[in-house]
Symmetry: C5
Subunit: 370 residues, 5 copies
Amino acid sequence: MPELPPLFERRYNERGAPPGTFVAPESSTPARIRVVHYDAETSNEWEASEPLVLDVERRPGAVLWIDVQGLGDGSALRALAEHFGLHPLAVADAFNVGQRPKADEYDESTFVVLRAAHPDEEGERIDWSQLALFVLDGAVVTVSECVTPCLEPVRQRLRAGASHLRGGGADQLAAVVVDTIVDGYFPALEALGDRLEVLEEQILERPRRDVLRRLYRTKRDLVAFRRATWPLRDALHDVCRAPGPHFTEHVHHELRDTTDHVVQVVDLLESYRELASSLVDVHVSMLGQRTNESVRVLTVVSTIFIPLTFLAGVFGMNFDRSQPGNMPELGLPYGYVAFWALCVALALVLVLVFRRLGWIGAREREPEVE
Amino acid sequence: MPELPPLFERRYNERGAPPGTFVAPESSTPARIRVVHYDAETSNEWEASEPLVLDVERRPGAVLWIDVQGLGDGSALRALAEHFGLHPLAVADAFNVGQRPKADEYDESTFVVLRAAHPDEEGERIDWSQLALFVLDGAVVTVSECVTPCLEPVRQRLRAGASHLRGGGADQLAAVVVDTIVDGYFPALEALGDRLEVLEEQILERPRRDVLRRLYRTKRDLVAFRRATWPLRDALHDVCRAPGPHFTEHVHHELRDTTDHVVQVVDLLESYRELASSLVDVHVSMLGQRTNESVRVLTVVSTIFIPLTFLAGVFGMNFDRSQPGNMPELGLPYGYVAFWALCVALALVLVLVFRRLGWIGAREREPEVE
Amino acid sequence: MPELPPLFERRYNERGAPPGTFVAPESSTPARIRVVHYDAETSNEWEASEPLVLDVERRPGAVLWIDVQGLGDGSALRALAEHFGLHPLAVADAFNVGQRPKADEYDESTFVVLRAAHPDEEGERIDWSQLALFVLDGAVVTVSECVTPCLEPVRQRLRAGASHLRGGGADQLAAVVVDTIVDGYFPALEALGDRLEVLEEQILERPRRDVLRRLYRTKRDLVAFRRATWPLRDALHDVCRAPGPHFTEHVHHELRDTTDHVVQVVDLLESYRELASSLVDVHVSMLGQRTNESVRVLTVVSTIFIPLTFLAGVFGMNFDRSQPGNMPELGLPYGYVAFWALCVALALVLVLVFRRLGWIGAREREPEVE
Amino acid sequence: MPELPPLFERRYNERGAPPGTFVAPESSTPARIRVVHYDAETSNEWEASEPLVLDVERRPGAVLWIDVQGLGDGSALRALAEHFGLHPLAVADAFNVGQRPKADEYDESTFVVLRAAHPDEEGERIDWSQLALFVLDGAVVTVSECVTPCLEPVRQRLRAGASHLRGGGADQLAAVVVDTIVDGYFPALEALGDRLEVLEEQILERPRRDVLRRLYRTKRDLVAFRRATWPLRDALHDVCRAPGPHFTEHVHHELRDTTDHVVQVVDLLESYRELASSLVDVHVSMLGQRTNESVRVLTVVSTIFIPLTFLAGVFGMNFDRSQPGNMPELGLPYGYVAFWALCVALALVLVLVFRRLGWIGAREREPEVE
Amino acid sequence: MPELPPLFERRYNERGAPPGTFVAPESSTPARIRVVHYDAETSNEWEASEPLVLDVERRPGAVLWIDVQGLGDGSALRALAEHFGLHPLAVADAFNVGQRPKADEYDESTFVVLRAAHPDEEGERIDWSQLALFVLDGAVVTVSECVTPCLEPVRQRLRAGASHLRGGGADQLAAVVVDTIVDGYFPALEALGDRLEVLEEQILERPRRDVLRRLYRTKRDLVAFRRATWPLRDALHDVCRAPGPHFTEHVHHELRDTTDHVVQVVDLLESYRELASSLVDVHVSMLGQRTNESVRVLTVVSTIFIPLTFLAGVFGMNFDRSQPGNMPELGLPYGYVAFWALCVALALVLVLVFRRLGWIGAREREPEVE
């Protein structure tokens, strides 16, 4: 099984440092930067790299999208912050990954933080990365923690020529970016559902030893999933309810639809979580049932044979039969036959008692075997 | 037992595709389309099929109801969307089944998504299908995932001639459709209640081996049921509180009554869920109680007979009695009788000890046997 | 123990039937109808029966109270509905018992649904019946599911002559009816409290075999109780906050007091529920503790005696001592005494080991015996 | 251990009796009545008794505080109700102890119900009594269920001469009374915390047999505590938010501070409750761990010795060695030595198997013993 | 392992004492007092001690920060209260540590209570101390329970010269103080996450005996952590939503950012709490699984060998073979071989039965061993 992702992932600043400062980890790979500049008619797309020089001549009415993939040494982010006048607190949040999804309104931008899901191919592990989104006047800046090109489909739609998206503004692009990330939750959710169905089958029909480990991993993924989606629901709700200067009324329906999808994800997660909890309970009960059956078999066998073994031991004693009163039964004719008769009688009585208690023969009352 | 329904059922679009596009699954059967055109005096009813041609001459004041059963290849839905100008996001939700129940207000329509319950005849499995409802000006479009004619009773009432429904508008029809779906929850709920009562009886009186599997299935059905009804409650509440252009004040009482029924369903589901959880606890406790009893029987029998068997073994040893100190008791007169006396005494003492501990004879204090 | 009441009790209409239609069950007994017509000076009281003819000459300012006990074939309800112009949806709810408690505002009436508690004499079972209440202008109609005269105390107070109640209006009577039903919750609650105290004592001090069955029954009663009171709390709160045309300001204090009582009931129910859950946990732990003790006794006894029995068996073997190397110890003088010494030594060592592990002698550290 | 307090304590009126009537229990002791009449300059204090005669000549601007300790036969309460024109519903609540804490606004008074905590000296039991508080114009009436003088500190502060309290109005006195009762929660809370710490230590380090009983008692006290404080928090919040004619703005800070303390109590109670639940889980797990260890010891010892004992039994059989094929090994030279070699080998193999399974020798991997 | 911190820590006043009085514990060490007086240009910093004399000549526009470390005998706090006119209730809360985090608006100041986290170096224990914060006009007073200089980073930033902080007002300083305390939560949270990951590994892969104790400690720390952060979230939310005279609009973004961090902490705590609960469940299930395996081994071994041992005992009996019918089989040729054949056959049959029951050989179906 793949390793579990870490529980805690925030790279925090030095304590007491002024907000807005951040230190790049030493092993950081340089960020990749994809820029698209488009309006309804034209679309230019190119790649930049650190150090970032922003010398785009912006066409009026056109939208500029700068997609920073990977955090690098933070220089790209710093350059963008300076160029667009981004608020230092928002910039710090974009760099300090592990933020809670949220949508904050600043003077110059609306700042959105989301978490993107990356299920592996076997569906056994889900990784998460942070995507920060600045919606500015006529421009969108996206900063993703990892270099996976999860926004490639958006670029394809931009390239595809005349579309609703190309004619829209910066908020239209931002809404599509958010929707693309949320669409990415469903394959991860499906993988989780498949894992739960496998666990159901294993627990109810064919128990395996590592079922608990798998259940726990699934629960852990559910917890991480919920932490990514629950706050997003509230953040999107707020944006829907009170459209601001950067998210206008034009994208209301799109955002509401995306919010609905997030709520649907949250709903399914709750269901999964409840089923996972039930499965733990069922597993414990199944174990109890099986232990109970084993103990009953042991008790029945022991209770029947232990007295008989004692009897056999008694008649194997070496008391001096020449002395009076010592083991006269050993000398009786057919004493051995009587011994067997006694044993069989004793065993029969005990079997009947156990049957009346329902400890044996209960199988007939339980037609469906495991 | 019937198979469990799948946990995850959303047919999602390709990631990043523009909202409103959808791909029909390959194995889809063509949709059946029932059309009714009625006002207080006249009512015409006919059946259409894909490709759908909408050339109805609509009478002023009359209501047109188009009921699409099954999703087919989506062509009917596309034709309707074009004809009525339905919002592409709503159309996509109607096609992508597995949506969360909701009521969305668009310019041209109010869009409602519900889930219809289909309990099987034995009450052992409940299937769910999605029903999407567009309430337009003078027209209602319903799109159901499955071809089961669950709205037939509504058509019968329309055929039945002069009624409150025939005289009402499109929202009256929509309210009746929603009420009919909600009425369909009660038989499913009754089946669940019956299953719980059977489980109660089995767990408390006559435990069966597959009781846990049945309990888990019931819990799973409760979870699915809740996912269908909980959001519907909120959606209907919202429609009741703020009647819009498509759901007018005229159907306020009907909608409130339907909402009450949904709330009643949700309430009962919560009760069922709590009872199901209690039953798992009781089952685990019962198992613990039974294991405890078995272990006590085993312990009592073993503790009494193991020392006696040891004693019998001792007197069966073959130490050379001609040597001094070796097993003189075997040569005593009535040594064998003394042995038995010792055994009985030992057993009696142990029985008394166990009785004082309450391990034997506790049955008298517990008059009601299992 | 008395049987458990059913989980599901709604007699639902045929699916898709127009709201407001209802079918009487075949075995229904005819309804009893008690009528009171009173004002501050005079009070007339008589009994009617189905078919109901309402030919009362109503005095101005007087209040007419029609109390229908039992649903009968629904003819009385239908007659009342026609006479007073009751809303068909409210009438259907009055007939379809099993409704969730609620208070609905209609044009002609305020419609209240409550559930009345009927604990049996031993306090082992609580039954519930529905009471529907129509508050009209100068008239109150009550429809109770069962024929138990649970509103008799109200009639007695009306008969008692000049009182606050006699001088009040229809809403005053309705408030008193609701208060009487709510007062009836307390004996049921007390019975539940008594049952819990008995269970506490049984589980903590003297466990009985049927304790789980009793606990489960209590939990089930608590669930039903909560379903009856929780929604009532909200309904009464709403009526208190926004007095309408039928419930006027005059009964505000009375209603608030009744609401307080319902809240008190709900609070106690929550406490009971939590204690019942704790009791299940404690019971499971107690069982685990007892099983643990039994297993320890078994392990100690077995571990001590099984090796000894093996030794005794060894010295009972019949190897040919005439051959070299075969069981020379049997021929040693005092070999038997040495055998016993070995046995005692072995047993002592094991006893010491177990004592150090805390498996024996732990009783001294645990002064309070069970 | 002291007895558990009862679960249900409401002395309810006869069903259907008009609200405001109450019947004194037969065994009631007469109420003690303490009266203080004070203003900034003078303070008079005296004791009255039933039947209560209220002939105080009230100085303008002075505050009259009548503190009724014990309910007696209700005559004092009735006299006060008549004298001050208290609302009958409030008076009934003051007499019917077991009310939920609340603050109700009446025309002539604000009526507050609280519950006072009385931990016993060992901290093993917490009793609760009801305190009802009527805040009138220039007068305060307190009615406490028990005769414990829990308001003595307030009287001492009044006697102490010139203080903030002496100069304040009736609401100032009422706020101080409420604060004094709330201050009394902390010693009870501390006793509960101490009990939980003892239980932690017992469960984690030195398990005792009665630990479950103690845990359950603690849980029960927590439930009762929460029932006393949770509603009080809401009631005080409401009074803070909307100061009325009897609780004026002047005591806003005092009331908010008291509310904060109640919230702090509620918070701590929640923490305690969660820890108590965790302790039950830990206890069950510990028991499972111990049972598991016992069973392993039993299984290891049995599995090693049972086959050996069988072997010894075999070689102790009395087959007639003169017949062919019967037990030739008994006649072999050194057969006995071979037997022992076989036994030791078998035992060694089994020990190695168990060690590989981790059933023996696991202790080395677990350095910290219990 | 380090000792657990106490559950209850409030030093409460004498019951009924006027609010605002407090008694210093006898063993208190004197408080250390650090004073900073700064504006954008100059910054003076010095240390004071009890008795505190406040003779600062305040520059207009400059901010005075008095940081009291340790409570001492309360004289410093009293002097400050007098000098700044602090509300006695707030002063009492600053002295009575163990307060719930809150933000209260007084006339002269905004009073904030927080709890600072102090994880020890091994991350095995988290201590908490209270920090009280008075935001006045142009001055900030901080009173911390312990003498740890947790606000040293703030002083360093003040010393660092021209900065956003130096140019800001008293509320800017207060916001930075709060942010510094909240930043201190993350290392504690990381330590908890690390502990949980170690526990995960121990429970799922290599169970240790003290795992339950560690789990419980972690749960306890989570409970304490939540008590520190949950109310802080609400308090900061309130301050953000309604900036008052002391916390102005200027620090809105900073406070919102700090609030976001607190919410992030609360979110992670919830996740940790759920995982810790899951781990307890998994541990119990693992124990059940292991006990079940042990019992099965015992049952299989016993069930196979107990009848065989009985048989061997039978043939070791000493019935007098000269009498008719007594043990003729002992005299048969090859009787001993037949005995062995019988034993092997019996054992084989039982092995096959157990294999069909899945009690043996199940390992093949469970490829992944523990």
